[in-house]
Structures are given as structure tokens and as C-alpha cells.
């Protein structure tokens, strides 16, 4: 095949060297050009791909090939050309010279464009210095690569999202309350109707209080904390009356809640859109896995030796997994019917076992919650024991989330799936476990709140135990959050840090070393089981980003459910909060709408009616189906184009071969006949956009980059 390849190399010394070859659009991207200088070595640089065939940026080409109009072709910016710095500078100077030929208007426009671009770059630079944790994330990326980076930038995204939600709530709900006295508005408070549902015993402690009681209060959100901004019960304001309008606080509360849920949804979807787009267009089933791992597998950002070692071993592991996957596919194809039956039965049994485990965990969370609630009603007096009882649900949830992944990874080995599916399935199970455990906590709380002795709740909820149930739910969430935070901190401080200390700083005698390595072995094994396992089986940088966001989306959807149920269905407590005068929180919206001018209010009521909802749903389904069909069509087009590319390549090679044959025969028989032959050959070849006539079979120029 060398004779064919040598067609592509040409010696640019003589004028008869392949002008047709150079004109081919595809070859302009492949052409390796020799440096037209007197330096000893030859240098190869790939040529640039000019967009609209404008070759005005090539000095020598302009002389040779047909003159093309020099102005108004969309040129690539100089910095995007794959040339050396000197060549780029020359190009730039050349372009500036050309620009001088243009009218002053054109010149001004180009200058304006350039300075605008500079300005944009500088401002982007400035803006990025304001980014949160930019320096730290920089360092992390530099040391550990983009896989770990995606986790930290995801964390940063979470912080930003939560901060924006807080800002929304603060500015629409709390700020009016704080500002009202100063801005001349007077707030009207809830009218307590004096019924037994609205009795709200004060939660602030009186008299002599032991100091550690305050700490217990801080940790559980009761006592002094309960009356603060943190919890729902504080918002007693009904409306704030300004001279010109009335600010309806309950309405604001409901609308802001809905608004921030929507905002989170849109922001998360936008952020995950790019990863999802790629997933849609690409085939899911490992279409290019090997190439991707070899050419885009090594993260060039890694500078830390340990991280490099880890990355190398993870790449190795991935490659081996892929090979194993191929073997598994083969094995699956070879399975007999008996094997299949056996495997399916085994899978069903194991899945039933997994469901049983999950059910046990959920039931234990339920019981722990109920026990914790009941023991809160009867404090034992021992502060530590009380705290433990209060935190019991959180402890049980954390324990469950610690044990179940280990169990799942053990079980999945027997289910005989392909390695890729194994990882995904295990992760799905773990994620489901985490989200569902919070759901179970909420459900058990709700069942406690709506359980009244004698089975009739006069106020819709158990008002004796929970005069202000929203605050109570808030307290449970607060405890869960604090416990999660403590666990993360404790694991880092008490497990990782000593491990590093022991490994790096312990210098000891021989016997002590044995003991040290003994201990280190167990510690390493423990952390390997908990922490390092995800690291040696990493997801690719892009797809792991998408996975985080997908989990976040599912979490958001699941979090919406209790919020919606509590707004629309559950009767609000009548002793505290802004919704004292309504049965459910949602009621405030229809009431506010009915106070609007009649045209607008009928319109809004129509929006909420059934016919509109059904129509809206149908239209949304139609739009969704349209986009699904569009995506499928794009995929088909991509496949088709790929096949076309293959065909074109084959055509080209065929024609080149034919041409060579023709040249060989014409070289063998020299004379005018052959020249005209060659001429006609090259003519037809040029028409076919294939290789050229008159090619000299030279050996490939000696490359100085040859290693």
C-alpha cells in the first residue's frame, strides 16, 4: 500500500507538483507542508481547514491557485490555525495589510470587533475571579484531574442553588417583615379564634435553665431556636398594610415555594442538558468505548503522582472490564435455555431478597421515628440519652445507608450481569435507598401527626402533641441535616486524617513497624471498602456529571411530592404560622385570585379548571413525542452519514488505484499518446475529485519528527 500512500506526498520543488491534489477540499486538511525555508530539518505542520474555501491566508497558495477574492470571506481567527507562532504572526500581519487595503469603514469595523473581543475576554477573566472557590477547584483539577473536579464543581453548584433559594425566601418572606416597621407599614397578625386548636404553648424556657439545655436546644431545634426565623411557627404575620397596597404574606409564602421549585428544576435541567444531548446522539451501548479510552482517556491535567497512579490503574481496570464485557457478551450469546432459566430464577430470588432488605430498613426507620417521637413527649432527664433518642431516626438512616451498599455490591456479583450494567444497577439501588429512606421518615412523621387517640382529629391533626406541626417537621429535617454534616466531618477527621498521619509520619522500630503495618492494613481495607471503591471504578468525566445531575433531578422530583401534598392536602396548624385562617395552605391562592378584577380572575380560574388541564397535558405529550421522533430521526441520519463516509473513502481509494494503474501503463509507453492519455486522465480525475495525474512517485520526505 506504500505506492498508494506515496501519492499523497509531493515534492513542492517543481511547478508540476500536484496543483489538483492541493485543490481538493479534503486534502487541504490533510496536507503536510514542508517549511519553505533554508533550515536543515524539514518541519511538518498540518494545514488549516479553511471554511469557505478561502485560501487568502496562505501566501504561497495565493500565487499558485486561482485567485480568490480576498475580502469578506469568513476567516478563522489566527489563533485557531494549527501553525507555529511565526507563521501565525505572519498571517496576522498579512491580514492587517489586507485590512489596510480596505476602506476605512471596514478597518474601523475590524478594529471595533477586535477590541470588543479583547474587552469580552478581560471581563470574563474578571468575572471568573469572582467565582466561588475558583482557586481551590483549580488546584484540585490540577492535581487530581477532571473526574474529581466534576464532583467538586457539582458541590459548588449545589451551594449556589441553595443560596439562591435562600435569597428568594428571605427577600419575599422575611424582608417585608423586617422592613415593615421602618417603611411605614403595619402588620396585622393572625386572629386567634381562641378555640382549642390554636393553643400554642410557648417554647422558650423560663426560669433557671441549665446551660447544656441550650446546647441540646441548638442541636434539636427546640426551645429558643423554635421561635426564630428558622422555623415556620415564627411567621405569624397575616398581612402588611402599606398606604397604597397590602402585602399578602401567606400568598407570598406559597408562591415563593412554588417559584423556587421551578427555578431548581430549570437550572438543573439546563445544566444537565449538554451531557444529555451527547447521550441521546451517541449510541448507549459502548459504541466507541475503546477509542474513547485510548485517545481521550488520560486526563492531561493530572500532576499528582498518586492521582496519576490511580488514573492509570482505573484506565487499566476499565480496559479490562471492557474486554471482559466483550467476553460476557459472547458468553451470553452462548447461553443455553437451561442456563437462562437458572439465571432468571436466581435473579428473581435475589431481587426479592433485596426488596426484603429494603423493606426491613424502611420498617426500622419507621419504628425508630415513632419511638423517637414518643420519647420526645416523655423526656428522661438525661441530656445525652434524650439527644440520642431525638437523633435516632437520623442514626438509623445513616446506618442503613452504610450497610446496604455493601450488601448490594455483594449480591450483584451473583446476578451475572455485564460489568457496566452491574455498576449502574448497584448505584441505582443505593440512590433509591437514600431517597426512599427520607421519604419513609416523612411518611412516618405524617402518620404520627395525623394520629389522634380515638381516631377523630378535631383539628385535622393531633393538636395536643403537635400544636405547630410544620415547625416540628422542620426540626426533624434540621436534625437530619446536622447529623449528616457531623458524620461527614467525623469520617474525614477520624478516619482519613489519622490514616494519612499513620502512613506518612509514623517512624518506628522493627516490631512497631509490623504492628503499624498490621493496623494500616485494616484501616486501608476499611477505607478501601468505603471510599476508594468508587475511585477505582470511576465514571467518565462527562457522564458522571450527568449522573450527579440526574440523581439531583430525581431527588427534586421526590422532594416535590411531600411539598405538594402538604400544601394542597394537609390541614395547616391553626396555632402558628401564616395560614391560621385557612384550612389548607393552597386556599390562600384562590382567595387572592378572587379578589382580583373579575376578568383576570375568571381567566385564572379557567386556567385551573379540568378542560384546560387536559388540553395542556395532551399538547405537552404531543410536543414530547415530536422531540422524541426528532431525536430518533437525527440518530438515523447520523448512521446514514457515517455509512456514506465509509463509501466515499472506499471510492477514493478505488479511484486512486485505478489512476496509478493508468499512470503505470502510460509511463511504460511514453510518447504523445501517453501524454494526451495522461492529460485526459488527469482531466477526468480532476472531475472525479480524486488524485492527480502527473504525480511523481517520490519517497516520503524525511521527517525530522521521526522518533
Amino acid at each position: 500500500m506504500d505506492t498508494v500512500d506515496s501519492v499523497f506526498y509531493s515534492d513542492h520543488m517543481g511547478p508540476s507538483s500536484n496543483p489538483l491534489l492541493d485543490q481538493l477540499p479534503s486534502y487541504q486538511s490533510l496536507l503536510y507542508r514542508r517549511k519553505p525555508s533554508a533550515t536543515a530539518g524539514t518541519k511538518r505542520r498540518a494545514s488549516s481547514r479553511t471554511r469557505v474555501g478561502s485560501s487568502s491566508s496562505w501566501k504561497w497558495k495565493v500565487d499558485r491557485v486561482d485567485e480568490r477574492p480576498k475580502v469578506a470571506c469568513p476567516q478563522r481567527p489566527v489563533r485557531e490555525l494549527p501553525k507555529t507562532m511565526e507563521e501565525k504572526r505572519r498571517d496576522k500581519e498579512q491580514r492587517m495589510e489586507q485590512a489596510r487595503d480596505l476602506s476605512s469603514w471596514e478597518q474601523w469595523r475590524q478594529n471595533a470587533r477586535r477590541s470588543l473581543r479583547r474587552l469580552k475576554e478581560e471581563s470574563l477573566d474578571l468575572l471568573s475571579t469572582l467565582e466561588l472557590w475558583r482557586g481551590d477547584i483549580h488546584v484540585i483539577e490540577g492535581m487530581f484531574g477532571t473526574g474529581i473536579l466534576s464532583y467538586f464543581s457539582f458541590l459548588r453548584f449545589l451551594v449556589l442553588l441553595n443560596f439562591v433559594i435562600f435569597l428568594l425566601m428571605f427577600s419575599f418572606v422575611m424582608l417585608p417583615i423586617i422592613v415593615a416597621p421602618h417603611a411605614g407599614g403595619n402588620s396585622t397578625f393572625n386572629a386567634r379564634d381562641g378555640g382549642e386548636c390554636s393553643i400554642y404553648p410557648s417554647t422558650s424556657r423560663r426560669g433557671l435553665v441549665v446551660f447544656h439545655q441550650y446546647i441540646a436546644d441548638l442541636l434539636s431545634g427546640t426551645g429558643f431556636l423554635e421561635g426564630t426565623y428558622l422555623f415556620y411557627g415564627f411567621y405569624k404575620v397575616q398581612a402588611i398594610n402599606y398606604p397604597r397596597f397590602t402585602y399578602n404574606l401567606p400568598l407570598a409564602y406559597v408562591l415563593v415555594t412554588i417559584a423556587y421549585l421551578f427555578l431548581s428544576l430549570i437550572w438543573i435541567v439546563k445544566r444537565s442538558a449538554s451531557g444529555f444531548k451527547r447521550k441521546l446522539v451517541q449510541d448507549e451501548d459502548r459504541f466507541q468505548s475503546f477509542c474513547n479510552k485510548i485517545f481521550a482517556g488520560w486526563d492531561f491535567c493530572i500532576t499528582n503522582e498518586n492521582a496519576a497512579r490511580l488514573k492509570r490503574s482505573s484506565l487499566l481496570y476499565e480496559l479490562k472490564t471492557d474486554l471482559e464485557e466483550e467476553r460476557t457478551k459472547q458468553k451470553i450469546a452462548d447461553r443455553t435455555r437451561k442456563d437462562k432459566c437458572r439465571i432468571y430464577v436466581l435473579r428473581v430470588v435475589l431481587n426479592v431478597f433485596v426488596i426484603a432488605v429494603l423493606a426491613t430498613c424502611f420498617y426500622s426507620i419507621y419504628r425508630a421515628t415513632i419511638f423517637s417521637q414518643e420519647s420526645q413527649m416523655r423526656p428522661t432527664g438525661n441530656v445525652i440519652l434524650d439527644l440520642i433518642y431525638e437523633y435516632l431516626p437520623s442514626i438509623v438512616i445513616t446506618l442503613a445507608n452504610f450497610i446496604t451498599p455493601l450488601m448490594f455490591t455483594m449480591i450483584i456479583q451473583y446476578e451475572d450481569y455485564s460489568p457496566a450494567f452491574e455498576i449502574r444497577f448497584t448505584l441505582m439501588r443505593c440512590v433509591f435507598m437514600r431517597l426512599a429512606s427520607i421519604g419513609v421518615l416523612l411518611f412516618s412523621l405524617w402518620s404520627q401527626i395525623t394520629f389522634c387517640p380515638g381516631n377523630n382529629c378535631s383539628c385535622g391533626y393531633n393538636h395536643k402533641r403537635y400544636p405547630c406541626w410544620e415547625s416540628h417537621v422542620g426540626q426533624e429535617m434540621y436534625k437530619l441535616m446536622i447529623f449528616d454534616f457531623i458524620i461527614i466531618g467525623a469520617v474525614t477527621v477520624f478516619v482519613e486524617f489519622p490514616r494519612k498521619l499513620i502512613v506518612t509520619y509514623c517512624d518506628c522500630g522493627l516490631a512497631k513497624c509490623t504492628i503499624k503495618y498490621f493496623i494500616v492494613f485494616y484501616i486501608k481495607k476499611m477505607t478501601l471498602m468505603n471510599n476508594c471503591r468508587p475511585a477505582t471504578r470511576p465514571f467518565r468525566a462527562s457522564s458522571s456529571n450527568f449522573f450527579f445531575l440526574a440523581v439531583l433531578l430525581i431527588g427534586l422530583a421526590l422532594a416535590c411530592v411531600p411539598v405538594i401534598v402538604s400544601i394542597a392536602e394537609i390541614s395547616c396548624s391553626q396555632a402558628c404560622g401564616p395560614f391560621v385562617n385557612y384550612t389548607t395552605s393552597w386556599e390562600v391562592v384562590p382567595q387572592a385570585v378572587s379578589q382580583l378584577p373579575s376578568g383576570l380572575s375568571t381567566f385564572l380560574f379557567a386556567l385551573a379548571s379540568e378542560p384546560f388541564a387536559v388540553t395542556f397535558f395532551v399538547i405537552t405529550c404531543l410536543v414530547m413525542f415530536y422531540f422524541i421522533a426528532l431525536a430518533a430521526a437525527h440518530k438515523r441520519v447520523v448512521d446514514h452519514l457515517r455509512e456514506q463516509l465509509v463509501m466515499e473513502g472506499k471510492d477514493k481509494r478505488f479511484l486512486i488505484q485505478k489512476l496509478l494503474q493508468a499512470q503505470r501503463t502510460s509511463v511504460r509507453s511514453p510518447g504523445g499518446h501517453s501524454r494526451s492519455d495522461r492529460g485526459s486522465q488527469s482531466h477526468s480525475a480532476a472531475q472525479n475529485c480524486s488524485s492527480t495525474g502527473g504525480v511523481y512517485l517520490v519517497q516520503p520526505p524525511v521527517s525530522a519528527t521521526h522518533v
Binding site: T146, W298, G649
Partner: protein, 187 residues
Amino acid sequence: MGNKQTIFTDEQLDAYQDCTFFTRKEILRLHGRYHELAPHLVPMDYTNEPDVKLPLALIVNMPELKENPFRNRIVESFSEDGEGNLSFNDFVDMFSVLSEMAPRELKAIYAFKIYDFNTDNFICKEDLEKTLNKLTREELTSEEVNLVCEKAIEEADLDGDSKLSFADFENMISRAPDFLSTFHLRI
């Protein structure tokens, strides 16, 4: 700010800004890094464009490149003589192409050059095997290496010559989701 430094003329900095993806500050910082690689060789004053080249051995020991299995090929691809001797222009060029603002097409061209070990403008099976061995430090058995290379060529080769031309490579890279995020150096 631009008046205080005496390393480059304003014109030179302008040219660098236009020809690379760096800002003035970054170019000056790059010069600092270049200088500290060989303080006695590299002059602080570049206004008259001295012809100084640093050898391969110095550049591949930079912390950014030290752990990279392809560091030799990277430096060779950006050197004019192909031996890995980088002038400051080549140095800046290298980091500019490998920065995160460089477009995919540009990176693909240089990636192809880097992975083409025998510089025959094709990534043949031997090139692939060398790449793989550098990546995994030869911890795969030769049979596995063979299998992986065959599969890779099968995936990417469009014109059926059992090696990857630039067109094949570019087509494959445009569909590789990680390429842009992994093929970049931070300096």
C-alpha cells in the same frame, strides 16, 4: 500595567494575544515559567527576540508534564525541529493549544500528531500499541493489547485500510465525549 514590564514590547504582547488564547497576564506568567526552567539560558528581556531553545529534558520535567505518559511526544510535536527543543514561541503555542479555550478541531489536529509515533500521517496498529503501552505501563498482556488495538481500529476506521487517517481520527474524536475535557493542560 503594560508599561511596567520590560520583558516584551507592547507590540509583541499584542501579537501573542492575537495568536494564542492567552491574556497579557498569562503570557507574562508563562514567560516566568519558561525562565525558571533555565534561568541562565533564558533572558529576561525578550524585546529583541533572542533565539533561545530549551531541550526536551528540561521541558518534560515540568510539574504539569511530569506525570503525562505522552510528554515526550507532546513536546516533540510542538517543536520546530521535531527533536523537542522548544523556543518560547513554541512553548506558548503548546500551552495555548492545550488550554481550555482552544477549539476541538485545533486540538484534534495536534492530538493526531501526538499519537502518530512514527509520523507517517497515519495511526497504524503499532502506534496504537505504543499508545496503549504508555497508558497502562505495559500491564496488559500482549494478547489483550492486540485485542484492544484491533477493536479500536474496527471502531474508528472508515475507509477500511486498517489504520486511522486524520479523517478517521477526527470523525472519531468528534464523537468522543471526554476529549475536550481531558485534552487540556492547566498552567
